[in-house]
């Protein structure tokens, strides 16, 4: 037996090391590509690595990352929240409406928007758990419902002071300056507040999903609901709460957008769903995890943000952006599911 294993040692060793390099490359593929991109962009455009530009990249991806984290939690329970972009857009319109038309202050507006997000998430969860509508279909329905609902109170117009309402009256309210600060304030004149808040939320969610027993149960419910139930988990409650978390994160994202642009823009939330879903799916490939995970989602969002920012600096036309995102997503999925898949 020992003679046999001796004879087989040399080629075995080589193939192991090749395999190990392959594994390491796959594990860190996103970061390797990111490093190459940073070097490329920096060599072409020295302003790329300035702190100001880096934080503007983070600011641009903060909302997508936040929504992506919400989608990640729903993916963990083997669901899929297609309505998260619409929830953000709805929350954007709702908070604008609350201040401009109803004349509420910043605190009340934020509370209202978050409560709305939680309720929509709850509704999603109940459609799925109580009525047994498949996740994709229930949240697709909710997506349409919200996209339409947000237009009705204003007759399809964007919300600014002086808006003429469908009943003929004029809205006299305005955005609360404190509310605007949520989106515009920069710590030390450099770090945008939304970036800090999103980083905090993402970190908390990462901790929940990776380090606590509740996180393990979220994944167990997604892996095998029967087994999780037999092991004592209230599986329906977990599935509902995943959608509530996603709804609240969506609403928070909407608040950040409203506070930054300072008006209830009907079209502001258009690409949020696809971008956040893409971030969550790219996250599968990060560290070769092969499943939805918070760190991967945030890394995926940042990756796409850096790529788009760099390409914009290099004067690549804006209309190629979706193509680039699509290419990144397909590449990441090929890495996760195809190329030298695990095992």
């Amino acid at each position: 037996m020992s003679a046999e294993s001796n004879a087989g040692t040399a080629p075995a060793k080589r193939s192991i090391s090749v395999a190990a390099i392959g594994r390491a490359l796959r594990r860190h593929a996103l970061f390797v590509v990111l490093a190459l991109l940073v070097i490329l962009f920096q060599s072409r455009e020295p302003a790329f690595l300035s702190l100001n530009n880096l934080f503007s990249v983070l600011q641009s991806v903060a909302v997508v990352a936040l929504l992506g984290v919400g989608v990640t939690v729903t993916l963990a329970v083997d669901g899929f929240d297609l309505s998260v972009g619409s929830i953000a857009a709805f929350s954007l319109m709702l908070s604008s409406y609350a201040m401009v038309v109803l004349g509420l202050g910043a605190g009340a507006t934020v509370a209202l928007a978050l409560a709305a997000g939680a309720s929509i998430g709850l509704a999603n969860g109940l459609l799925i758990v109580a009525l047994r509508i498949p996740d994709l279909l229930a949240t697709l329905g909710m997506m349409f419902l919200l996209a339409g609902l947000q237009l009705i109170p204003t007759g399809g117009r964007s919300i600014t002071t002086g808006l003429a309402l469908p009943d003929g009256s004029i809205a006299r309210g305005a955005f609360d300056p404190n509310f605007l600060l949520t989106g515009r304030f920069k710590l030390w004149g450099l770090v945008p507040l939304p970036v800090v808040l999103v980083a905090f939320v993402a970190l908390a969610t990462w901790f929940l999903m990776e380090r606590t027993r509740w996180g393990r149960v979220f994944y167990a419910v997604g892996g095998n609901e029967t087994a999780a139930h037999y092991a004592g988990a209230p599986t329906k409650a977990y599935r509902v709460s995943a959608y509530v978390i996603s709804g609240v994160f969506g609403a928070l994202g909407g608040i950040f957008i409203a506070a930054r642009i300072g008006r209830g823009d009907v079209f502001a939330g258009a690409s949020l769903l696809l971008d956040s879903v893409a971030a969550a799916l790219i996250g599968f490939a990060v560290l070769n995890r092969g499943h939805a995970n918070v760190f991967g989602t945030v890394a995926g969002a940042i990756f796409v943000g850096v790529l788009l920012n760099g390409l914009t600096m290099l004067n690549v036309p804006y209309y190629t952006q979706d193509f680039v995102k699509g290419a990144v997503l397909v590449g990441a999925l090929a890495l996760t599911f195809g190329i030298g898949a695990r095992r």
């Binding site: 606590t212 027993r213 393990r216 149960v217 095998n224 087994a227 004592g232 995890r289 499943h291 095992r343």
Partner: protein
């Protein structure tokens, strides 16, 4: 070597295995098996779990290749590389699971010609009239009386099975292989199935019938073959001596549970319990440290009793007392908190997480139901989980590299050890095991039994098994179930083996009489 008689019998063979052996790693599944089924003959195959029945069937259906020996179908030596080859050679297989019998959403006619539809035998244009005509011909051939336009999904399990059989034999089969076909059928449905089998036999189709049910075997078989540890250990022609058959299936050295163990105070007291509104009420006392096995046919209510005690099914009537207090669990979480554990039937369905799930390794699998107790503050400590896993690996002799191994990398027996290890990782008052020896080889079964019988077990254990052999091996007492109630209770150590077999064959005999009337 072949005599003229043997040659002529070769021509009338539906199928013959000659010196077939198959090993899986260290386990010998088949050890030089010689078996033949003649045209028009029905042979029943009897054997406990792991005896090699399904390996024999898989070799005939092209799923597995034998390591040694040969297979002859219709007098010609064949080498089957795939289920498709087997179909082409004339072997029709009908599996036990009803969810794989046909395509829901298509109607009966389309299901009957499914193979031709998929294989292109009907041309690329699926003309309804042509499908209907072909399907009607197939149905008529075996006397299948069904509405051909009904959706497959609306059929009961028996009719689904009949459609699957009709489809399987439609293409000129010489052998029909049935694996526990009546497991999910009522007596009347089974009778319909038997009539169809009779017609097929009259047409010269050979039938190999794998079953535990003596009543079925009595009804249809010409010959009874007993398989044990991969060898044929008994063969009978009519009239059958089932007691002999069971004895051969179990082996002469019946491993009854070793030394009788001290029985503690009453741990659980079941009084007047009804599992279904029409089920009879029954009582059962479980003592601390005692293992009671539940035996009985599929559908006798073994799983239901365990699920009821675990809070997965409501208590219809009667009472359960656990450690002196009334026990009426609302859900598994409450049961786990109170030390009532259930390892469900079919581990991949009820216990294990797929490999892509985080924390689905050995350590995570064992920790899953215990994290609430182990980590009250919510933060998971990997070291605690690893330690519990190492304990289980040692106690149950789980063959693996370590606690971080994925379950999919383990053999079936070792997977099952992880499942049992999970529920031994915390002290239990009532341990409920549903078919814990399903798909487990003999060696692993010994380890599991040993672990269950280790004297440090304080709680009571209730084990549902489908084989008497398994019951005798692990239990102190055996409870026989029928129609959702316990109808007999035997001590294993006081010469119980015979009494249990008598009791079981009496019950089987009754249901056989019921099926015939």
């Amino acid at each position: 070597m072949p005599t003229p008689a043997a040659l002529s019998s070769a021509a009338s063979n539906a199928i013959a295995w000659r010196g077939v052996s198959k090993r899986f790693g260290a386990t010998v599944a088949l050890d030089g098996v010689d078996l033949e089924v003649r045209r028009g003959e029905a042979v029943a195959l009897l054997g406990s779990n792991g005896a090699g029945k399904s390996t024999l069937a898989k070799i005939a259906s092209g799923v597995l290749r034998p390591d040694a020996g040969s297979l002859t179908i219709g007098g010609r030596s064949v080498s089957l590389g795939s289920p498709r080859d087997a179909r082409a050679a004339g072997v029709a297989v009908v599996h036990q699971r009803t969810d794989q019998l046909g395509a829901p959403g298509l109607d009966v006619a389309e299901n009957l010609v499914l193979d031709q539809l998929c294989g292109g035998g009907l041309g690329w244009l699926a003309r309804p009239s042509r499908i209907r005509a072909r399907a009607a011909a197939i149905a008529a051939e075996i006397g299948l009386d069904l509405d051909l336009s009904a959706d497959f999904n609306t059929l009961g399990p028996a009719h689904k099975q009949l459609v699957a059989i009709a489809r399987a034999v439609g293409a000129d089969a010489s052998l029909l292989l049935l694996d526990e076909p009546t497991a999910c059928l009522s007596a009347a449905e089974a009778a319909t199935l038997f009539n169809v089998i009779d017609r097929l036999r009259a047409k010269g189709v050979g039938v190999l019938y794998i079953s535990h049910r003596m009543a079925d075997i009595e009804r249809i078989a010409d010959r009874l073959v007993v398989l044990r540890n991969g060898r044929i250990v008994g063969e009978q022609t009519r009239p059958f001596d089932f007691k002999l058959g069971i004895r051969q299936m179990i082996g002469r050295d019946v491993d009854t549970a070793a030394a009788p163990r001290p029985r503690g105070a009453t741990m659980a007291k079941i009084e007047g319990l009804r599992l279904t509104p029409r089920g009879a009420p029954f009582d059962l006392d479980l003592a601390a440290g005692e293992i009671v096995a539940l035996v009985g046919a599929l559908g006798a209510g073994k799983s239901r009793l365990l699920r009821t005690l675990y809070g997965l099914e409501p208590i219809v009537a009667g009472s359960v007392n656990l450690g002196g207090k009334p026990w009426r669990p609302k859900n598994p979480a409450e049961s786990i908190a109170k030390g009532v554990f259930l390892a469900g039937e079919d581990r991949w369905a009820t216990s294990l997480l797929p490999a892509a799930t985080p924390a689905s390794d050995i350590a995570g699998t064992i920790a899953l139901p215990h994290r609430k107790a182990w980590f009250p503050r919510g933060i998971v400590d990997g070291a605690v989980e690893r330690k519990a896993a190492l304990g289980a690996i040692e106690a149950l002799r789980i063959r693996c590299r370590g606690p971080a191994d994925s379950l999919e990398s383990l053999s079936g027996g070792n997977q099952q050890k992880v499942v049992i290890g999970r529920w031994r990782a915390a002290p239990s008052r009532l341990l409920l095991l549903d078919e814990p020896f399903q798909g487990v080889d003999i060696g692993a079964r010994r380890d599991l039994v040993e672990s269950l019988r280790a004297s440090r077990v304080e709680g009571a254990t209730l084990v549902a098994v489908s084989d008497v052999e398994e019951a005798l091996e692990c239990a102190d007492r055996v409870a026989v179930m029928r129609d959702h109630a316990i109808v007999a209770l035997h001590d294993v150590d006081r010469g119980g083996a015979d009494a249990i077999m008598n009791s079981l064959s009496a019950i089987e005999g009754e249901s056989a009489a019921g099926a015939r009337s």
